[in-house]
């Protein structure tokens, strides 16, 4: 724990004998940090997780400054952290302030990912808060002359517990009555080493101080207003797009004419007449312009004459995509351990089902198209402001791009527009690095809409072939599952190497970081148990090795919504074939009590009538149906029920009601959780009924909000009902993604219930639905 003397709001500390001083105000740390190199020797040593002071400072006013490598990307995680720290310290949440994701001052906790920020990322924060409280109370004990076990803390004030002997003594004036954390902070901090375990998301630290028993919580579990919400609505919150560095220039990029197109020539003479034009930067196939004003950069990017070679015909025709995927030789394959003999089950089945499910590429299409600000000094000392989910990885990747040690690069995370995975903010930052390096001045790059929607990495397309066997008694006796998907890690979600970035790939740096990530049964579908099960997953090679607008990466709940669409619809098909209620079939084949409870909780809230699908007597033009799907993700359980109206003439699927039960263990902030679940439901509704990346043989052709459609006001159900299942006996689990998972299957199952027609391809667009129901 670091303590501060006097009323300082600036802190300066010397990082090593090489003489680098980092000085910045805590208050505006994210806006104006600059690295001042006093020598060319590197530099800033990252804070050691072993030291309490790396995590937490007690300030003279009694408030607490917490430093974490975790971030807030729109779901209120920093509010949850605030509650957790305040709880352990017995301090008002208003006195807890956070620095998030600054590589110079926070430890590497892996950034954001996998819905782990609260489940894993908050553990060290809870533990250091407990350690700090113990140290402060110990110090108070010495100052007050009261044994530790007779002290109590209320909002950072330590005093003898009511009724204790010390309190009685204090009341006679023999003892000082109380001392505040702020007063204790003027004492010299005791060096304290923490026990470190794990790394990245799993990084944890522990001390001898034990955190509170959750049954004693008074702040965790309450709906504290989100700390970012009022500042955002009042207009005082600063996003990464709002960073202004002295001398900052503005950049825009110009991407190739299509996949594999190489640069033939650039004529920048038309841009030279634009007031404020500085330079056109060309490095192999990377092209960007830099100007003094943002509008000048927008104009210059349009004005320069760039000639590209003909792009490759690297993509199949869009209408052939799924055939291509089924015919392609897989790059790699993973088989789950077999249960029983599926071949025998299928051979002996009374009823045998075969179904093919198809899910398109989808785009992050963040609200702001991506922005990065980079200040690359001539000596290589660099600061980058980015909304990317993994600042410590970016530090390594940008350093590699610049050819300098990571210690000379500081990445300061600031919130961008949403995120939903690895959206391209990382690439926008790399563009800023390349342009700033070329002009020797700070450069802010704001992408244009098409730079994000067309050229940002995509959530992978996935296809599934399923087969199922039902015996004469209506029991499911076997399921075969085969998936073929582009890798969720073709562009690695951990952007810690230069080749990870689009701009860098255009300069000729190869992406060597990709991994095979499978759309597999195990992690992405509920753990159903059948007498026989055979599940295998294939990853397909990307269409082009470098700078492809269809390169694939993590998009919210990677492979989860797609795989659950296939599996949870197929389960529904089995139930319909067996002529039993779809909830009943699920309950029969799943063991986990929390999964069963989530299904029942959703059904109770909805008023589910037990019967098989489709709904009988549904012959009108506008027909109504209901469908359910289960989502199980890393210990979080979600049951979603959709009610739909399908217009047979127009093919429009109108979702009129969504009910979602949600069990993520102990709930830290019920209202913020509900808000995140409701938003997940609406976003995933759009991914179900509208979202599809469009492309031709060389380019992505969905480039804006007209050509890449997402949920709008008219798509939002009249009723969205959320049932929170609070498990105070369990640790908090993840909530950022799980409620995205079952939506597509719930809606498609409801369409089947309404129409008797099974649609196995997303999105459930009016054209597709119309064609299917009017056969």
């Amino acid at each position: 724990m670091k303590t501060h003397k006097g009323g300082i709001t600036r802190r300066e500390f010397v990082r090593d004998a090489g003489g680098l001083v980092i000085g910045f105000s805590i208050i505006d740390a994210a806006i104006t940090p600059q690295l001042f190199a006093q020598s060319t020797v590197a530099t800033a040593v990252p804070p050691s997780p072993k030291k309490l002071e790396s995590w937490l400072h007690i300030l003279p006013d009694g408030s607490v400054q917490v430093f974490t490598g975790k971030l807030e990307i729109g779901m209120g995680v920093d509010t949850a952290f605030t509650q957790i720290v305040a709880e352990e310290l017995d301090l008002s949440p208003l006195r807890v302030k956070f620095v998030l994701g600054d590589t110079a001052t926070t430890t590497d906790q892996g950034g954001v990912g996998g819905s782990t920020s609260v489940s894993l990322g908050a553990r060290p924060l809870r533990n250091v808060s407990a350690a700090a409280r113990a140290a402060l109370v110990q110090r108070a004990s010495q100052q007050l002359g009261v044994p530790v076990d007779q002290l109590q803390v209320k909002d950072g004030v330590v005093r003898a517990a009511a009724g204790s002997r010390a309190a009685a003594a204090g009341s006679t004036g023999l003892q000082a009555r109380q001392v505040t954390y702020g007063e204790l902070a003027t004492a010299i901090a005791a060096e304290q080493d923490l026990k470190v375990s794990g790394a990245g998301f799993a990084l944890n630290v522990e001390s001898s101080a034990k955190p509170k028993d959750p049954s004693k919580y008074t702040v965790v579990g309450t709906s504290v207003p989100r700390i970012d919400m009022a500042p955002k609505i009042l207009g005082t919150y600063k996003y990464v797009v709002d960073v202004r560095v002295p001398g900052m220039l503005h950049g825009r990029v110009v991407r190739p004419a299509g996949v594999g197109a190489t640069l033939v020539s650039v004529d920048d003479s038309p841009a030279k007449t634009i007031p404020g034009y500085v330079k056109t930067v060309v490095e192999k196939d990377f092209v960007g312009v830099v100007c003094e004003h943002e509008w000048a950069a927008v104009k210059a990017a349009k004005a320069i004459k760039v000639t590209w070679s003909a792009p490759l015909q690297a993509f199949p025709e869009q209408k052939d995509l799924y055939n291509y995927m089924r015919a392609a030789t897989p790059k790699s394959t993973r088989k789950a351990p077999k249960t029983g003999d599926v071949d025998a089950a299928l051979a002996g089945a009374a009823k045998k089902l075969d179904a093919k499910y198809d899910v398109p590429f989808q785009s992050h299409a963040t609200m702001g198209p991506g922005c990065g600000v980079a200040d690359v000094r001539p000596d290589g000392i660099t600061t980058v402001w980015s909304g990317g989910q993994k600042p410590h990885a970016l530090q390594k990747g940008y350093a590699e791009l610049l050819g300098v040690p990571a210690e000379r690069v500081r990445v300061v995370w600031m919130q961008d527009a949403g995120s939903y995975g690895r959206p391209g903010f990382e690439d926008a930052g790399a563009d800023a690095v390349l342009l700033s390096k070329a002009v020797g001045k700070p450069v802010r790059v704001q992408w244009m809409r098409h730079d994000m929607t067309a050229w940002g990495a995509k959530g992978p397309a996935c296809v599934y072939d399923l087969a199922g066997a039902i015996d004469a008694q209506g029991n499911v006796t076997g399921v075969r599952f085969v998936s073929r998907a582009f890798s969720g890690g073709e562009i690695l979600y951990l952007p810690d190497a230069a080749g990870n970035y689009l701009g860098a790939q255009l300069t000729g740096i190869r992406n060597t970081t990709g991994v095979d990530e499978f759309a597999d049964w195990g992690a992405n579908a509920p753990p159903y148990r059948f007498p026989s099960l055979d599940a295998s997953s294939h990853v397909l090679a990307g269409f082009h090795e470098s700078a492809s607008p269809l390169r694939s990466t993590h998009l919210r709940d990677p492979e989860g919504p797609a795989t659950s669409f296939a599996v949870e619809c197929f389960i529904d098909e089995l139930a319909a074939a067996a002529d039993i209620d779809p909830i009943e079939l699920r309950l029969k084949h799943i063991d986990e009590p929390r999964a069963k409870y989530a299904l029942r909780a959703a059904a109770d809230k909805y008023g589910w009538e037990s019967r098989p699908s489709p709904r009988p007597n549904n012959s009108g033009n506008v027909v109504v149906g209901r469908g359910i799907a289960l989502g199980v993700r890393n210990g979080t359980y979600v049951g979603t029920i959709a009610e739909v109206e399908v217009n047979r003439t127009s093919g429009v699927v109108k979702v009129t009601r969504l009910v979602c039960s949600h069990d993520c263990g102990l709930i830290v902030n019920p209202d913020a959780l509900k808000s995140t679940i409701a938003a997940n439901l609406v976003q995933s509704l759009g991914r179900t009924t509208k979202e599809e990346v469009m492309f031709d043989r060389s380019s992505v052709t969905s480039v804006d909000w007209n050509s890449y459609k997402v949920a709008r006001a008219s798509d939002v159900p009249a009723s969205v009902e959320i049932v929170l299942i609070d498990r105070k006996d369990l640790p908090p689990g993840g909530a950022g993604e799980p409620s995205s998972r079952p939506t597509a299957a719930a809606i498609a199952n409801a369409v089947f219930d309404a129409t008797g027609v099974r649609i196995r391809q997303l999105p459930l667009s009016p054209e597709r639905v119309k064609a299917a129901v009017n056969v």
């Binding site: 729109g74 996003y239 797009v241 004003h293 963040t366 609200m367 409701a678 439901l681 609406v682």
Partner: protein
């Protein structure tokens, strides 16, 4: 480049800018107002919304030369001179209406403009007024609640 005077958030500003420059960049880069945000540059999403004589307009597609003497108000200028949040802002705060919030200019200012002219807007009218806005995070249910809450608080104040 041309010198012009803009009325923004109740104050006059003299700027020397390209007359074709969209108002958005003048507000952001010349006046350093952060809240009108770039979303698409095509008028398709609403992240850049400002009020122009009390109408919600897309500043990304409005050349600054077309502003003339119109009074521009951004989120920064919505609060009362004493710093009290506007009741529409307060309703959005009370509903904790957003996730990332990048889009909020469009929703808050469209809501204000709507309730100025139609203080008893029905749910259907609210949705119709908001159909041309994007919230990529999907915060719509809270946003609609906030607009209804704002309408109610407006009725009490009237």
């Amino acid at each position: 480049m041309a010198r012009m005077t803009l009325s923004v958030n109740g104050r006059s500003h003299v700027v020397d800018v390209d007359p074709d420059c969209p108002l958005l960049y003048v507000l952001r880069d010349n006046l350093e107002l952060n809240n009108p945000r770039f979303g698409c540059g095509l008028g398709q999403c609403g992240a850049c919304t400002v009020l122009m004589d009390n109408r919600a307009v897309r500043s990304c597609s409005l050349p600054v030369s077309r502003v003339g003497t119109a009074r521009i108000v951004t989120i920064e200028g919505l609060a009362s001179p004493g710093g009290q949040p506007h009741h529409v802002q307060q309703a959005f705060i009370d509903e904790q209406a957003f996730q990332c919030g990048y889009c909020l200019n469009g929703w808050v200012l469209t809501a204000k403009a709507l309730l100025d002219t139609n203080p008893k807007a029905s749910d259907a009218e609210v949705r119709r007024a908001c159909e041309s806005l994007i919230c990529r995070c999907g915060s719509h249910t809270r946003i609609f609640s906030a607009i209804q809450r704002a309408a109610k608080s407006q009725a009490v104040r009237a």
